[in-house]
Symmetry: C2
Subunit: 160 residues, 2 copies
């Protein structure tokens, strides 16, 4: 199962932040690439319609050892970025390490540690956060913590 | 300049085939990935609106030595395939070698040889074919030659 996690947060200040939704888009392994990409593109459109985000934070591309896997992941990234670009929403990317460091204070935090911290930070039940959505919430928080403070906005990376 | 070639052909039989259009979508090197992907997705939508194709033939993904380049190309492929998938149009992929072999009779033909053959085959002026559109026409012809003959359709690859 290929899973794409997402998290939508609303952030008024570093201390005023809440989760609007989090979840995953799951694509069964027997689906064609076309169908997976269509579902990802359409899924992003639906999320944007639901939550009208100002911006999107996404995991940086990484150069895996397995070229074939990296290329399939890149295709998914291409469809997802095209969807946001088509709706005029800027996409910022961060390495998982940077996102965890910003969101949890530890760049090498495990998935469980990130989930525990996200649940505490957002005051939600940890069971509410699907496995693959924890990283998405950490990425959102990482970006939000910079974007929400006017004096820090110069530190924002260039959107992709 | 990143260039994506395309060619639209109409094929009634192996001998009755004509070029409706061919060209390139050019993205200046200073454009962001987002903007390039948006232009590719939108470009495919426009081509489909113009020519209402039954199907699309595309170059197979190749595993280049440069992983970064392969990943950027894969992002473009992801956006393009998502566009066609969103419009319900099947995408078939062929290696450049296979496309040249089918279209020109020589899997190792140079770009100029392919262009010369395409111009002759379609009875158009070779100057009408932009450099990066020759491979697109060869791919279209390669797919068309199989798809148009009922007894050969079992030989079609599975759409991606």
């Amino acid at each position: 199962m290929r899973r794409t996690g997402y998290g939508a947060i609303e952030m008024q200040s570093v201390d005023r932040v809440r989760v609007l939704d989090c979840g995953i888009i799951a694509n069964k392994p027997d689906l064609s690439h076309s169908e997976c990409l269509r579902r990802l593109y359409g899924g992003m459109e639906e999320l944007v319609k639901s939550f009208q985000p100002d911006c999107v934070a996404m995991e940086e591309a990484f150069y895996g050892k397995n070229v074939k896997t990296s290329m399939i992941l890149s295709m998914a990234r291409g469809a997802i970025i095209a969807a946001f670009a088509g709706m005029g929403i800027p996409v910022y990317t961060y390495s998982p390490r940077k996102a965890k460091l910003a969101a949890v204070g530890n760049g090498n935090a495990t998935k469980t540690q990130v989930a525990t911290m996200m649940a505490a930070r957002f005051a939600i039940d940890i069971k509410m956060i699907p496995d693959d959505a924890t990283d998405a919430l950490a990425l959102a928080l990482c970006h939000g913590q910079i974007a929400v403070v006017p004096s820090l906005t110069a530190m924002l990376p260039k959107p992709v």
